[in-house]
Symmetry: C2
Subunit: 361 residues, 2 copies
């Protein structure tokens, strides 16, 4: 199934920004939010870009997300802060909090910010790229509504809880790890359902907690599983990482944790308990020159990257990639050829265009 | 194969401390190093306790590790430091650097320390427990000599590069994640070889980079694989985590990274290049009350832990554990019943006893 239509990314960016403005988001913040969605589309992460505009729009239009939040620091030390996002877009509270992490890194060497009362923040990788551009090592995490079972559990208790870490290099591109802590994203289950295909063992369990190859069984009350899949292959490790993300993002900030993180969807039921405010993010920034001369560090990073690229390839492969390679390669193509948009998303955008009067060109 | 003998842990602790002293380690540092080995034995991590004494002893006796190091801070900011371990035991440089991370957290909210010119530091989990005891969230990582192939690589390029994160709770025990970033530890390959058994697919590759179920094929020029095992199950994620540990521990500090980390063994060949000094560690500490009232945080941690324990169990299991449960349960048993020591390790200890005159009682 090819794309229904292809757009140059600036056209989608303009549309997103104007839609955000239409539902009350101030101009500068609307453009920032659109920047993050465009970063996702350009980097080839179709699930987190313009495809999510509909949900952001629905939640803003319904008053579930505050279009004009005033995020504030509720506690801080020289190298840390806790931020209340005032129930704004994560696409606004996220960059605001990440900026504080980077500013603290400027003065204290490192900065670490936990955020509550916020919403979906787009791709985790966007934030660490901001740090990388300032010769910092960037960290970004967020919790999200439940979809993943802990190892040996039969029900959804944790989100896909991504971790991103970005590291600047010299002549080589930066290393940008951006990974969910479950085996695969829910999007791959959706694709298998749409195409009527089985999924590999090790991606999901059914509603009884048994491993399944039927994507519908995962979807109907089953769950994704943590990175590592099962006990024998280290599923307890992926579960532990997902839990660490939940604690740093939500327990530390005062957001809703675990199964109580609110859904990013208008029509899904709210969790049975409220144990905090909104969802939570966690950002970190460490100045490279707080640890080592920056030029020296970058030269060593280049050397390490080249050593990894020179690894003898496994059969049937071209050898190891570096984290961030696929996204950078996608961006090189998409900045020229445009962003492919499928029929379902195109229909959503058309509806939004009609409802708001913002033209989709 | 049962243990050849069982010792109360204080007897092994005393033996280790006196052996370290015999090869020139000052008394206080020798006891600290023995503390870390005992923590491993007590927590049920047989691979990292007294079983490693022989290698520490060999390297100290051969002058490959400096028994009287003077670790020093070579660069620092209010929340960060870079430490040169002066080629001492990681069991000495590690606690010294971790203490700096915690002291910086006291004054700046968080502290982050990267260490070069150091050696094997025992279990990663030991360090985060020190932070937890001070109501801090602790982080600990180390690189190690090559044993793991990057995804799509056919040769060893990275270490098993563990990550530990420790989080204090209230009435519930702390959450203590302590995980290698590969699927399984090398020790499981050794056990399979000894028992003449096959290993599961997804643990290792052979010397040509093909998945193998023969532990000898891994051992003879093959490699362990990153958490996630293969592309379909997220092996690129485990690889990315292993790389992040390598960067934070070694590139940031000026230690040897990737395939050039020196082996923890007297008889293994040294790597062909020296790209830094020794191996590297990375420690972090964040004061809980830098982010949130400590009592509030701990109450929420208890609530989260109980919610996870109440997860509906998967068939054939008693439901999810929390990270740190198995080690705590092992300690409860071993503090009463003693530490089982197998025949090979017992023979090593006997040789050390004869060579040093330190009695093993």
């Amino acid at each position: 199934m090819g794309p229904a239509r292809t757009f140059p990314w600036p056209a989608l960016h303009e549309f997103c920004a104007r839609v955000f403005e239409h539902v009350g988001v101030p101009d500068g913040e609307a453009r920032l939010a659109a920047d993050i969605l465009s970063a996702s589309d350009r980097r080839g992460i179709d699930s987190h870009g313009v495809a999510r505009l509909r949900t952001y729009y629905d939640l803003l239009a319904a008053g579930r997300i505050n279009p004009r939040p005033r995020p504030r620091i509720v506690r801080e030390t020289p190298s840390t802060a806790t931020v209340d996002g005032d129930n704004g877009l994560g696409l606004v509270a996220g960059p605001w909090a990440n900026e504080i992490a980077m500013a603290k890194a400027e003065t204290a060497g490192s900065g670490w910010v936990s955020v509550c009362n916020t919403n979906h923040y787009g791709i985790a990788g966007y934030y660490v790229l901001q740090a990388v551009a300032r010769d910092m090592i960037g960290w970004s995490m967020t919790n999200s509504s439940k979809g993943v079972a802990p190892l040996w559990g039969a029900e959804r208790m944790l989100g896909t809880n991504p971790i991103a870490i970005g590291v600047p290099a010299g002549a080589e591109p930066p290393v940008v790890l951006d990974m969910a802590t479950c085996t695969v994203a829910y999007g791959k289950i959706e694709i298998a359902m749409r195409e009527g295909k089985a999924i590999p063992l090790g991606w999901a369990i059914d509603g009884d907690g048994r491993p399944t190859t039927d994507p519908h069984e995962m979807n109907d009350g089953g769950a994704l599983v943590p990175l590592g899949s099962d006990r024998e292959h280290g599923g307890h490790k992926g579960y532990g990482l997902a839990l660490a993300v939940d604690i740093l993002s939500a327990v530390l900030s005062g957001a809703n944790w675990g199964p109580f993180a609110p859904p990013f969807a208008l029509r899904q039921a709210l969790p049975e308990r409220e144990v905090g405010k909104g969802i939570g993010h966690f950002f970190g920034a460490m100045r490279v020159d707080a640890f080592r001369d920056t030029a020296e560090f970058k030269a060593q990073m280049d050397d390490l990257i080249r050593a990894l690229r020179a690894t003898r390839p496994a059969p049937g492969t071209a050898g190891p990639l570096l984290p961030g390679d696929p996204e950078r390669e996608a961006q090189a193509v998409r900045d020229v050829e445009g962003i492919p948009v499928g029929a379902a998303v195109l229909a959503d955008l058309g509806e939004i265009a009609r409802a708001t009067g913002v033209p989709l060109e």
